[in-house]
Symmetry: C2
Subunit: 757 residues, 2 copies
Amino acid sequence: MAQKPNWILICTASVIFLIIGTKLFNRSKHVYNLFFTYPFLFIKGILIGRYGINNNKDAESPEKAKMSAMVMEELSASNIGEYLKYLSSVPNLAGTPQDLEVASWVRDRFIKGGLDEAHLVPYKVLLSYPDKNNPNQVSLLDSNGKVNFTTSGRQTPLFSSEEFSPLVQPNFNAYSANGTVEGDLVYANYGRKQDFEYLRSIGIDIRGRIVIARYGAIFRGNIVKSAEDGGALGVILFSDPKDFAPEGRSSVYPNTTRLPGMAVQSGSVLLGYGDPLTPLYPALEGAYRLPETEAPLPKIPVQPIGYDEAEILLRSMSIDNPAPEDWQGGLNTTYFLGSKSTQRKWTVRLQVRMTQKLATAYNTIGILYGREEPDRYVLVGNHMDAWTLGGIDPASGTSVLIEMARTFGHTKEKSNWRPRRTLMFCGWGAEEYGMIGSYEWAEEHAKVLIQRAVAYINVDSAMEGNYTLKSQTVPSLYSVIREAAKMVPNPNPAEVEAGRRTVFDTWLAANPDPKDPTQPRIGNLGSGSDYTVFSHVLGVPSIDVYYDYQEKAGSYPLYHTLYETYHAVANLMDPGFKYHLAVARLMAELTLSLGESVILPFDVPSYASFLEQDLAKIESRYKDVAITNGATFEHFRKAVAHFRNATEYFTNNIIPRLDLTNPLAVRKINDQLMQLERGFVDPHGLPGRPEFNHIVFAPSSVDKYSSDTFAGLVDLFKTVGNKTEAEQPGTWRQIKQHLSAISFLIGAAADSLREGF
Amino acid sequence: MAQKPNWILICTASVIFLIIGTKLFNRSKHVYNLFFTYPFLFIKGILIGRYGINNNKDAESPEKAKMSAMVMEELSASNIGEYLKYLSSVPNLAGTPQDLEVASWVRDRFIKGGLDEAHLVPYKVLLSYPDKNNPNQVSLLDSNGKVNFTTSGRQTPLFSSEEFSPLVQPNFNAYSANGTVEGDLVYANYGRKQDFEYLRSIGIDIRGRIVIARYGAIFRGNIVKSAEDGGALGVILFSDPKDFAPEGRSSVYPNTTRLPGMAVQSGSVLLGYGDPLTPLYPALEGAYRLPETEAPLPKIPVQPIGYDEAEILLRSMSIDNPAPEDWQGGLNTTYFLGSKSTQRKWTVRLQVRMTQKLATAYNTIGILYGREEPDRYVLVGNHMDAWTLGGIDPASGTSVLIEMARTFGHTKEKSNWRPRRTLMFCGWGAEEYGMIGSYEWAEEHAKVLIQRAVAYINVDSAMEGNYTLKSQTVPSLYSVIREAAKMVPNPNPAEVEAGRRTVFDTWLAANPDPKDPTQPRIGNLGSGSDYTVFSHVLGVPSIDVYYDYQEKAGSYPLYHTLYETYHAVANLMDPGFKYHLAVARLMAELTLSLGESVILPFDVPSYASFLEQDLAKIESRYKDVAITNGATFEHFRKAVAHFRNATEYFTNNIIPRLDLTNPLAVRKINDQLMQLERGFVDPHGLPGRPEFNHIVFAPSSVDKYSSDTFAGLVDLFKTVGNKTEAEQPGTWRQIKQHLSAISFLIGAAADSLREGF
């Protein structure tokens, strides 16, 4: 073993050296570099050469630890609270004057916060609005056609003055078709594929009828799509008290965070991504726009209602077919499925009046240019538009974003420091309608982003509750988020008392990874927020973080309702904004890791492990049927093994030999790390889904919110089922083609890590 | 004006400084850089800052001029001659053992020449072979069905011993369909679209008949496609003596370079690109392969014959319809078109027996890693496979390629020098069949090449004659090729005597640019050789060079025949290999410009000029019809204007302010220059041609060999003709969509040159 050097001496000397250097030369980077950074790096290089020390910590910029402490300290919970108060004070639906006001205000905050520049970026896109004066309605008609009951179409203001704003829209689902339909009801539980299949299996046909279904399990647009495909006339959606007000009607907003009976979850039912009229291309001036009839919009009307009103409708239903046990909900009635043949005792009339129109959505992009690699970008983003007041979604995230921008801007101004790479703070427009602002922007700048974007860090609702951190990301960022979570003090006093000092500790305790219980569980990216285009189309390693509300999946009760107010956040959900602060600190730490480390902290062998595990799962499920039909996993398996070897060799042999004093050699390694994720992008798209390109991660084809791994392949296997090649040659051919594409892309990604060509 | 510095003093000091540094420190790059390069660059930076001097010359590496002189001197005509002798000694058809032998030999030359590494890269692809023992035949049958004449199916050896090789194949067109067809002849001139239209216009139907057409105007595959689309049963191709033996039968090979009467031009009739069974993906082990029936292969048989035999067939034709004046050829007979209704006096029988099979094509890739930017590649390539002996096509180019590799390798070994960037020397396999080796390799390494390839320099036949240099490239490389041509001494003594000392001088005199007669004309890249995939799919700036045979377009007479021998090259076409040497020098100079300049020598405002001129042309032709049908050039025009401004600003404001001492700042600028060409790549392909992605340059859709600008758009305008939007809504929609895509991509390319994000 080599003799241990006198570390304390070397480090102290280096730090003194650097501090003197900074003081003396802070106005002249080159002179400074010449006298201080270069010799420093040179000495470091000798140390590395001699002692072979070069783990991620060593490859971190000498500034990283110092800046991390400084930034952690600077982030302010009270600032976050102030931003949130402003942001949630007025409804700012995408495309409205209030939305522009908020986007401009965010831009001003970015500038005042010290960023180098900040701009509004407008796109003219198809948005969808209800008729302010004629709310959409659901009515109950008796057998004589007489209207017995009609929904109010609006939520009742309950507490905060801003709930009374005349700008609050009546209840609607964006992009619902217009029209009036009449039919009897069929209850479809959560509207999942299996729910509709169950109805079909017991002989209940939805054709010519109106589907009523509960929110909370899958993306609402997929419920509507299944109903439409099954021939339903329309869809009514409601939030069941079992999921949204489990303690009953007396324990709801404004006293608790539970859902009152007339509260309605707004939301888009668009199944596409980005502006519906300009798929794959940005909605710039002069862009070709599809005829609206060809956009991926529902062809049937859909309307959300509160559970008080849902109860009235459910009570009117035929009592022939009681719903199964687990379809029963929290309303004071037995839930029935509907009759097997259409009945005319009670008919429901659904009247929807929407305007689909071109409107301008604004992104706000703020930039802090990097010191050494201004053309490498770490992006941090959240959307700015809200369905109504958006106290949580998105103001909690936007407030964190603004405070991060201010903190980095301030640190730059105070200490003449800049991060190694450029930081971009992105406020997205019209996310709620279908990630429109982020999609159009990413489509516009696709090539530059593919070249230069190191990572995208997404927050949406920064906190939905105080249960635990949750995160979805790609395997190469697992260690980055875990390490960052260890740096953030636990915002929950009870947890601290229980000995869990950091965000990481609670995360691990609450949500251990079943595959490795020594680590907290990390999810895969679906399509719930603005990371979609970055991850699944461009192949930019992306990460989504938030503090979650409960153990099981599902949104916090007030999600997308009128009652996402400052009161709900400041008094009920996060008094003192401690959880907000924790998320801000976590994101700042992530940003510093990605923006400041000399070598990008991407753990590429983790990706190999992930692929190995996922392949094993897919193989165990589909290998036999594949072999029987002439398809093989052999090349897929070889490619993953090759990928394993390449990532190990890169990590254990190439990186340690890197000459850290050579900026272009460091850039080469970082480009390889950055581009590895792009390797999984098939420019020709997934089978039948040309809008998605990432072969490993894609939104589920039956639930836009959730993620499937190797979705292209698994979807095909599901489609083909037990059919043989002779019975379904087309699908088997697609399976073979996609297996071939997957094997090629994984192998090519591995090759991109080679030392030479 | 600023005071002039004492240049001589500064330069002399710098050079002495550098030389001392090189001597003292040539074993330790870092120390050397620290003491010499950095201060040198620093001083240079001050000079630039003070005097604003930073044209391309200044941004060249200090090594460039020295290395250029050294390389020019080292390149050897006699080496080229020796390689050519070996390469043309045995037929090396793709996929045969001789082909592998040549590829291995090239690899060995690369290694011995001093490259860092060289590898064979195999791909299993669909190739096509005649039946060695049963040549394809064309027979003439009288009205009783009696065979009066049958073609020999082979070329007669005339002079060199290698012409007698038992490995010489009978005459064939690769990928011809198999089968025997019978019918009377229709003469279709050069088989261009307008030729078939003319036949149709005068009432001559090709359905159920055999087309006979002349080689020489367009790609033979397009002739076959038109015949097939028109319902013909088969195609016979011949080389007319008017084009290929203008001095008559007495003045032909082996006495001159003109075509003897039984000589046959082989060639592929594949209309696709790359391996026909693996479009868009590389033909790796385990790749999915299309059923052969779905590959873009002709459905009718086609066979090439010599003009002696063509004369017999033409003389048998019905004398009803004499061909027009300009359809008449050099044979001793009047050329007739064929009769208006099928006649049975003489019938032609076409018997084709081909084997389409998977065979292995080999690329040879040799690498000389770069000194400072090993992950930036300048590629130089030529194919290695030949139809027969391939003395010109490809041995002239391969010999030049090998000599270049040896020269750079030798220079590295002799002077411990490496180019700034990595040089890759690429010998391609199976180019003749359809650019298969280069396509599969570029498909395999697409992402790495998009990231890292600076440029691709192509040579195919290095010299076809001694008339003048010709070159096709993209506008940003116009100045590079022109400057390089000025550095190369004129190989033609008569031209030197006429005062034209350089290759450039003859080029300018022989072929001035009609748009700017002070410059030689440069063509656009079609799809005649291996640059296709680099330029038109990946967007790597590519350049093709060769010494041409004559003023007008068309191949040298011996092209693709048995008589492309060493004798033809060494004794008839280029005694002393002076023209070969000139092309080698030119390519070496190009390679050094691209591989050694600190700032890439891309002239981006030239691209703006090109787009402006081309847009003006298209607008003047199609503007009115566009406006009438609701399409507009407005955004296209705006995008080009924006592109103009961006390229000017980049060149005049950003580059001169560049800190040349900052390697990452230089890299940023170079990446922007390199990526500009990628900006023209639409990942979604051209309308109806998903295999092509470059919006500005693509092969013509009616002639694979030639180039169309904005082919996607122009093809649509041609398709729609005078039809209104009401009459052809689909095409007008495509026009609007593509105009939108073009405008977006040009604008985005311009934006990629911005200083900040």
